[in-house]
Symmetry: C2
Subunit: 252 residues, 2 copies
């Protein structure tokens, strides 16, 4: 049995643990030697406690962040102190890519639980990307993926009923967690009902009622933060409904 410490593959594994690889390189593209160079500019960071801010809206833009463990929400404050949640960020996902244009953050980011991140100085990343075409390509891809993600969200909010929104949200979480090796059917919601409601453009009460009803209908099981998806097929059906039909005939 070979000692894993001596093979160069191990370096990739190390980088992966730092989430450098998982976030920036996972969709293939980077050579091993390049991963090493990338790893050198990534800053480690102490754990971030639940409720602690990663950055605030208006902060000067310097780093992008890759979630290593835990989860974050991004949001903007409304006039009366309320929050509009813009997104949730799970392990392996990036935060801060929207700040490049204005050179300052357009939203705030806060930890939903004790989390750890990798800090990537954007200027250094740019410089390195100039030297490594495959890295440049990778960053383009990542940003493109971010745009696609938002586009999908637009479709979700644009023309879908509350049921479809919640189902889509849960399946999105499921898929993203499964991608990281977590269970696709059982997980904890690190965000509050309030956060979910804000994100989906619904009232808190509506989200609460939906959870209750979906449980009664056997679609899922929910206990406080814990969720178990029971009928993935029917949940899928809810998501695939035609935007213009609102899927209202689906439920009794």
């Amino acid at each position: 049995m070979p000692n894993p410490r001596v093979v160069s593959l191990d370096k990739i594994k190390v980088a992966c643990q730092n989430c450098t690889l998982s976030a920036l390189c996972l969709p293939l593209g980077l050579k091993e030697a390049d991963v090493e160079k990338l790893d050198q500019i990534v800053k480690r960071s102490r754990p971030i406690q639940r409720g602690e801010a990663l950055f605030h809206i208006g902060d000067p833009f310097q780093n992008i962040y890759a979630v290593k463990t835990g989860s974050f929400k991004t949001f903007v404050q409304s006039a009366d102190g309320g929050e509009q949640v813009l997104g949730f960020h799970l392990p392996g996902e990036l935060i801060g890519l929207d700040a490049i244009l204005d050179n300052q953050h357009g939203c705030s980011a806060k930890a939903l639980e004790t989390s750890s991140i990798c800090k990537i100085p954007f200027l250094q990343l740019e410089t390195l990307a100039t030297q490594l075409p495959s890295l440049q390509h990778q960053v383009f891809r990542l940003m493109s993926g971010e745009i696609s993600k938002d586009t999908n969200m637009l479709m979700l909010l644009g023309n879908r009923s509350a049921d479809e929104r919640l189902a889509t949200f849960l399946l999105s979480l499921s898929r993203r967690l499964a991608q990281r090796g977590f269970s696709a059917t059982e997980f904890n919601l690190s965000m509050s009902r309030h956060d979910i409601a804000s994100y989906l453009g619904l009232a808190v009460e509506t989200v609460s009622r939906l959870f209750t009803r979906m449980q009664q209908e056997g679609l899922l099981q929910v206990d406080r933060k814990f969720v178990r998806l029971l009928d993935m097929d029917r949940l899928d059906e809810l998501c695939e409904k035609n935007p213009h039909c609102h899927g209202r005939q689906l439920l009794p």
Copy 2:
């Protein structure tokens, strides 16, 4: 009076007419010599007729497009043949940045009127960006801007009433047209009511009623495709409402 043909600035102007500069370089950043190089990879294109497709969903990704004149919509087809509109693209704006990740287009694009575009081969743009750090930076900025744009849209759809959505939509058009030197208060809606409704996540009838009511209230004047914004202040107020109050008390 100097002959504009001989000064090198003219090259920028030429590029600008091709929309290379306006889309890719306008937010400063590129040196004159670099603009010239960029201009060399941009392909001109014949006019595109109303209803003609720029690309279809699933098409292999090769170019990004900059709108020179006219306008486009991006959309996805739903199960029953309906459309979900994802965005409208005015002169100077880019189309196709969401296709990099999957290497194929995730939506279709169609001309809303007779339009012209610049075709930018993405592979060549990437290669050039490797050589020109300022161009690389510029592309990062553009993509970041695209993410911000979507984020704003999420906020719009997430928690706002129909009035606020339409007001925000109209002011967004106004601002973007003004940026290109068009009138900020009078313009033609190249898209149908159906497109607007789909984009804003509303029923066609609701959009129609809103136009009628806003006209009655003196906010604007509307005749078929033509719109004149009369009370920008009150329209602004509609947009700035707190997401959680829904601004419903604003209207009688």
